[in-house]
Amino acid sequence: MVSVANRRQFLLAGSALVAASGLGGLPAFAQDTRLRLVFWGSQARADRTYGVTDLYTGEHPGLAIEGEFLGWADYWPKLATQTAGGNAPDIMQMDYRYIGEYARRGTLAPLDQYVGAGLDIASIDEDQLHNGTIDGKLIGISLGVAAGAAVYNAKALADAGIEIDPMGWTYDDLKTKGAAFAESTGGAVALAPDGSGIELLFENWLRQQGKALYTAEGQPAFAAEDVTAWFKLWAELREARAIVSPDEQAIDVGKLETSPLVRGKAAMNFTTSNQLVAYQTLVPDPLGIAIYPATTTGSTGGHYRNSSQYFAISAGSAAPEQAVEFINFFVNSPEAAALLGVERGVPASSAMRAALAPSLDERSQQAVRYIDQLGAIAGPVPPTPPAAAGEIEVALKTKSQEVGFGMQSPEDAGPAFFDEVVATLARAA
């Protein structure tokens, strides 16, 4: 039997021990305030981000910003562990698949009270603010506008004598030109990676047919047959040698360096427009940017102007004002914008876009132009995804590997994946 008093004494003794031993964390040296900042990304993103934090802390003596970055796949379990431990970082980079779940758990601080008082949103695009608003509360500040895009090695395509229409190519093109490309490289390099496990690409393909990934109520907006058709499409492309082998695809763990494009096994990757800049730092040949393939010539509605990522503040942050101030600097100051470029997407603030425009290098301009040119190809932004969206994104990748390695036929994989989606959604609700 442990009485309440005993428990309290135990707690007291425990905290005394923490204080006495200094184990509660090393002393905070000279800084009065410390902000922890986490994000996923590549070294290129880290260099730019740390450039901004160094600039900012240089101007704010007494403030330290401790940055940490991981790859996409490692980032989410890590963030979940920290959040579970009541120890979430002050500022965290958020993705549209997860922001709803984190916000509804009450782990993210609403930012409405800071608007006009430390946080300036006057020049930020309306749709970007809307994307970061969950249940009527402003939670995430968009760090950039991006859209799904295929990044390709322009030189490799030219060498093979292959041409694609960047704003109008189709899955049929992928198949025929992919076969021709494989022919010309002797099969050593494929035109494209295996995109069957890329959720964004799947969503795009669904949307082109008037469907979607999730309804506003958080239910699947597609059927088991759609999944089967999707896997069949990729099986045909695999057959035609238009895409890399399952072995090669499985090496890709979501980091740029592991992608078939960077490893020289494919001449393309299906990613988002903002990544063009980062890929260019890793691939020596000039890169081009194209839309995701169209299902039929001239089909529209698949793409949308997304927020590439957000900054959000932990509900448990000890220094939310300072965190807000930093985010404000990050998205609203020309100095920060100059350092960040369009690596996280085109700035959501019109003022920053204007400030940035003259100084952008060719590749960055290309990424900006791509967003502008989307025009009618783009459709409306989908509703905030349900809580299990992140888990389902991972599940699609696993399922696609099962089909790729021939462990399940597309006919079986379709219903199996659909059931898994339904079960996962039900469990998270």
Binding site: G71, A73, D74, W76, P77, A80, T81, A84, R105, G106, D247, E248, A250, I251, V253, E391, V394, K397, T398, Q401, E402, F405, M407, E420, A423
Partner: protein, 313 residues
């Protein structure tokens, strides 16, 4: 508890010191020396075990109070969770292949070393080194590189004109890379085998070779039977360790258990559920199934041991 029973014992002899002072003199020092262990045992083992059993019947996300859901977690696990069955398959496969192979290796090398050869301490130390370093993150990182598509193994194979696959990202081989990693660390069972071999009286072999028994016959008829207690011990320890294995699978698969869950060790899945998805109740249920599994295995080993383990006395 100790106090109550002590009082209940007959204390008729009046000339002896009182019950209390006897307890103080006889029992108290023991319990005092065990005090830290007792706090740990009840606070960190027994208490948490009871709690975890309770939690396994709840939905619990750490933020809100646990919600009682009856046996739902267990039902889901056995009827509607493909990842559970996948992780169970992976773990059992790992245990079934890594433990016997590791022990076979350990025994073979121990036999080689037990011939009174020169340089025994050096060889023993060299073979033991991987065991000592093996659990480290650094080794897992190294392993990932060795078995990558452009890794060391394929470099060596290329010298013979063989183009190897990317072992770690191919679901047919990925688990084997972890099994090989486990076998590589055969050093500590090897040392235990060596100690066991030392205990076998040399004159038994001399008598056998006088009778004309071949080396192999001597091994089967003398060495193996006399060594069974050591084999038994090693098998139990290594199996429990194999069930608990976590770090290599975590590092090699980047925490995912991929490709296609082929390295989704049970412990890795449990970690994902608990700390990746806040499903502490379900993870507790997973833990209890693991305990049942390890318990069953241990009980089975002990029950069957009398048929194959030979003790001198």
């Amino acid at each position: 508890m100790a106090v109550q029973t002590a009082i209940a014992t007959p204390a008729g002899q009046a000339q002896r010191p009182s019950v209390w002072s006897r307890i103080w003199q006889n029992d108290a020092p023991g319990y005092l020396f065990l005090l830290p262990w007792f706090i740990g045992f009840f606070g960190l083992t027994i208490g948490p075990m009871i709690t975890s059993f309770y939690l396994s019947f709840t939905n619990f996300d750490l933020l809100q109070a646990p919600q009682w859901v009856g046996a739902n977690n267990y039902i889901r696990m056995f009827t509607a969770d493909p990842k559970f069955s996948a992780s169970m398959r992976v773990t059992l496969f790992f245990v079934v292949f890594s433990v016997p192979l590791k022990l076979a290796f350990a025994l073979a090398v121990a036999m080689l070393l037990n011939r009174g050869i020169k340089g025994l301490p050096m060889y023993r130390a060299l073979f033991y080194l991987p065991s000592l370093l093996g659990a480290s993150v650094a080794i897992a990182i190294l392993w990932r590189q060795i078995f990558a598509g452009d890794g060391l193994v394929n470099k060596l194979l290329a010298m013979f004109g063989i183009i190897g696959p990317s072992w770690i990202s191919n679901p047919n081989y990925s688990l084997w890379t972890l099994i090989i990693l486990s076998i590589w660390q055969f050093g500590s069972p090897m040392i235990i085998f060596l100690a066991g071999l030392r205990q076998i009286p040399q004159d038994m072999y001399e008598a056998a070779s006088l009778d004309g028994a071949s080396k192999w016959r001597q091994f089967v008829k003398i060495t193996l039977p006399l060594l069974t207690p050591v084999v038994f011990f090693n098998a139990i320890i290594q199996t429990i360790e194999a069930f608990k294995s976590f770090t290599p699978a975590f590092i090699i698969s980047g925490g995912t258990g991929n490709p296609i869950n082929s390295t989704l060790f049970y412990t890795l899945y449990l970690y994902q559920e608990a700390f990746g998805f806040f499903r502490m109740g379900y993870a507790s249920a997973l833990a209890w199934v693991l305990l049942a599994l390890v318990g069953l295995f241990t009980a089975f080993s002990f029950l069957t041991s009398k048929y194959w383990v030979h003790y001198d006395d």
